[in-house]
Amino acid sequence: MLPPIDTVRLHETPEGVDLALRVAGPAPRAIAYLLDVVVRFAVLLVVLPLGAFAGFGTGLILLAVFGLEWLYPVVFEVRSGATPGKRIMGLMVVHDDGTPVRLPASLIRNLLRTVDFLPMLYGVGLVSMLVDRDFRRLGDLAAGTLVVYADTPPAKPTIPQVVPQAPPAGLSVEAQQAILAFAERGHAVSEARRIELAEILAGSVGRRGEAAVAQVNAWAAWLARGAPDGRG
């Protein structure tokens, strides 16, 4: 089977299950970078009044400039997995096995940023990201890191409590999954769309309109809970 055309990268854990890592492309990462530039400038503006303390203040400002240039991403990535810009964009940096990034890998990817930035505005990094399947820039390749979407804790969807009905025999696995997914998420779409989707699923038995929605929910309840008398 061909791998799906998707940005999901599956990592098989030692327990033998696949974890999905959804890698982030150049666009959200560029926006995250720009947000970080804004944060850095804001920090610099806060530090700037120290210049009033002549030599001592100047020294502190220069140290701040150094820290913001080289250490800002490292500190945030090691502490919480993401710089403020990445956090706003819902991204985080992980090792390629999905574990949180630690100091050595974070240092490598951020020091090598200098090369990714060449010849200007991340030219090398962009080419590397577009060539690589997992959108890694050179620093990520050397450090063995990925920038992925942080998982959003899903609101636990529930299948409506309705009287279960046995679905038609010989339903394909895909159709069963579609019925269950509809029951869990159907309430999130508009009524017209919900009916439209339900008619696709229940069209084979001639249900239309709200009757189709009720029919699909009843099948879903049967798939999840079994027959009303507890058998199944």
Binding site: T13, E15, A54, F56, W70, T99, P100, P104, V115, R225
Partner: protein, 328 residues
């Protein structure tokens, strides 16, 4: 088994597991919960198995997604990478850094040769040929340089606009400038080692030219005492950064039995230790440069500190943490 029965049977375990994850993910609560955590690996395996079952039995996508998030969170905790413990900067500098450097001593000597030989050669050449310095620096730069180390000034090494700056300001400047150069020397190695090579050569040549020229115009009496204090650490650290960069280049040009990517990753892990150690050395050098080198101490004492510095640097890099060399 139907999904509802499965969920009902397993949900107490899932909520135990979730509570444990919440504790683990909160570093402050982590300590307090350590005794209860011994069952965590077992619970994690149970969750993995439930997740796999849910998938193979085609339970609803919502349940599968919920279990996957739980497994993913647990995976992050259980397989969190623990590098060899680095208790502090001191511990790192006393053992990890010098040991790693000695393991790559061949690369270090190549980097040092690329840096120091052009420096010495250029220094001697510029000392003997008055015009040669203009092949690297233009007339204006040479004039600036001469004014910096004019024996008539009190604080050598600081430009007229910096005359009023305090030592702290200079410390900030040296850290930003020198550590930045060190980091770039390392990063340049990713360009097949060429970036590090060029930075080492160019820096070696210019430092040699400056030293040769200032000695030739008889400003040596201000220049040499100024640089002797911090030179040993600063120059060694730049050579070490160059060695770290060459390690990256070596992985790409001569990966040996590994793929280039695997070699790059392995070498980068060692290289970043070298860069980290070199950065600490550079900060130390910046402290000396800011608070000692421009100070009023007599030249003889400054030369003495300089010689002592070279001996210290050599002894430290050759011997520190040697008892554990086999272990690392």
């Amino acid at each position: 088994m139907k999904q509802d029965a499965f969920e009902a049977a397993a949900s107490p375990i899932w909520s135990d597991y979730r509570a444990m994850l919440d504790a683990l993910e909160n570093p402050r609560r982590r300590r307090a919960h350590v005794p209860a955590l011994t069952s965590f690996p077992q619970l994690h395996r149970r969750l993995c198995s439930d997740y796999a079952l849910a998938r193979s039995r085609r339970y609803s996508p919502g349940l599968i997604a919920e279990l996957e998030v739980l497994v993913r969170r647990g995976h992050r905790q259980l397989y969190r990478r623990r590098s060899a413990p680095v208790r502090s900067v001191l511990d790192f500098m006393a053992t990890r850094f010098p040991r790693t450097l000695r393991r790559h001593s061949a690369v270090f000597w190549i980097a040092a040769a690329l840096f120091f030989l052009p420096m010495i050669g250029m220094g001697i050449a510029v000392y003997q040929d008055a015009d040669l310095v203009y092949s690297l620096l233009d007339a204006e730069q040479v004039a600036d340089l001469e004014s910096l180390y004019d024996p008539a000034r009190h604080t050598p090494g600081r430009g007229s606009e910096r005359q009023a700056d305090t030592d702290v300001a200079m410390f900030g400047f040296y850290v930003m400038n020198n550590v930045g150069i060190g980091f770039r020397t390392f990063a340049g190695g990713l360009i097949l080692g060429l970036g590090s090579l060029v930075i080492l050569l160019v820096n070696g040549l210019s430092i040699g030219a400056v030293a040769g020229h200032l000695t030739r115009v008889d400003y040596g009496a201000t220049f040499w005492p100024f640089v002797s204090g911090h030179g040993p650490y600063e120059l060694t650290a730049i050579a070490i950064c160059g060695a770290a960069g060459l390690l990256l280049g070596q992985a790409l040009l001569a990966p040996g039995q590994r793929t280039r990517l695997a070699a790059l990753r392995a070498n980068a892990r060692d290289a970043v230790i070298l860069v980290g150690g070199a950065a600490v050395l550079l900060v130390f050098a910046a402290m000396i440069e800011a608070f000692w080198s421009a100070g009023p101490a007599p030249s003889a004492l400054k030369y003495g500190v300089g010689v002592l510095g070279w001996v210290l640097a050599a002894v430290y890099l050759a011997l520190a943490g040697r008892a554990g060399d086999d272990a690392s």
